[in-house]
Symmetry: C2
Subunit: 215 residues, 2 copies
């Protein structure tokens, strides 16, 4: 089970009204994002790197090169943080001070374990199904050499926080009387028209499963 807002480290002191303790929100935000940011500390210096990922049950799976410094450090069990942020809009209050953004954000604290054995293929399929749904049954699956070059890590959803910012701008009573437009400008992420590679050996249409992708 995930600890949502349950530990001193994940209980935000600021803006507690934005903190959600709903596991459905946690899962929905992770499942809606394509990219997470994950951190390692190397000789006292933190590094934040974007990574593709997938959630499966109560774990987040990441995959990367066995030669990557990030993955090598994470594999050693170093304390890490994985954060996912979905930006949903800009909030224009009558005052700049109250202006803000709509977002949904998840922070996961913990350390990774290296995924081995049969769980490794399960994890790679979960990542493929999350980022490229339908592709697993169409593209060539990893061969032995590629499998050896790939490290898969699992970060358990044991210590998490969720923040959701939504709703209209909240100006003070005095500012409400100002003759300034206020509201929200939504932000959406959209897929464009697929662009086929020039070197397709056959005349192949864009697959139905790709046509169905929506953000």
């Amino acid at each position: 089970m995930s600890s949502l807002g349950g530990t001193a480290r994940t209980t935000g002191r600021r803006l507690p009204e934005l903190a959600s303790v709903n596991e459905g929100d946690l899962h929905a935000i992770l499942d809606a994002a394509l990219v997470a940011h994950i951190c390692v500390i190397d000789q006292g210096q933190p590094f934040i790197v974007p990574v593709g990922f997938a959630r499966a049950n109560d774990v987040v799976y990441l995959h990367g090169s066995t030669k990557s410094r990030l993955f090598t450090l994470l594999a050693s069990g170093a304390p890490t943080c994985l954060t996912v942020t979905l930006l949903d809009g800009l909030v224009l209050a009558r005052s700049l001070f109250e202006s803000s953004m709509h977002y949904r954000s998840v922070m996961v604290l913990g350390s990774c374990r290296v995924v081995r054995g049969s769980e490794k293929l399960t994890a790679l399929k979960a990542i493929s199904d999350h980022l490229l749904p339908g592709r697993w049954g169409d593209a060539r699956l990893p061969n032995a050499q590629e499998d050896k070059a790939t490290m898969v890590l699992a970060l358990p959803l044991d210590e998490c926080s969720v923040k959701i910012s939504s709703g209209p701008p909240e100006d003070s009573a005095a500012d409400l009387a100002r003759e300034v437009w206020a509201g929200v400008v939504p932000l959406t992420e959209n897929f464009g028209e697929p662009i086929a590679s020039d070197d397709l050996a056959f005349d192949i249409d864009v697959p139905d499963y790709v046509q169905r992708w929506k953000r």
Copy 2:
């Protein structure tokens, strides 16, 4: 001047072909993003938090609450990393191993200084002009109380790396002969129709400067 790929800490060992040493790319990526992820270490545990920001010349400005733990730690000069990632598309190779994403990413290492005096208003205007262009001349500017509650930090672009992934999938010669569609599915971020607050005291149209916003 920014050090692009110039130090051991920012010289990627993996995929060096993606590393850019172009300051124009560095600035363009920072200027195209609305949100950055920034990190602090607290008792050995890293935390990654999303923040609005703006670049001005060779510095990134952030603003937050003086009561925020993140900002308090950053203000103390703690080593930090700020990463900006723009996701541009999904790359569908014929093999899952070569499948990837198009992205533009910037990583800035260093530590923040607290911005005071006249530079503080300059920084707040830079952030407003970046996130909400045109709004500074329309919305109410910060009053003394709000100014006191706001901390502004500057992170110099002294030690940075830039990575840009673009282009078609790169399958092996053997995989090119497969009867599998391959290509790129672009991802774009778009503004939706502005939604006016219910409590507008006047009949005010959406301002022209907002109508002009494009992602």
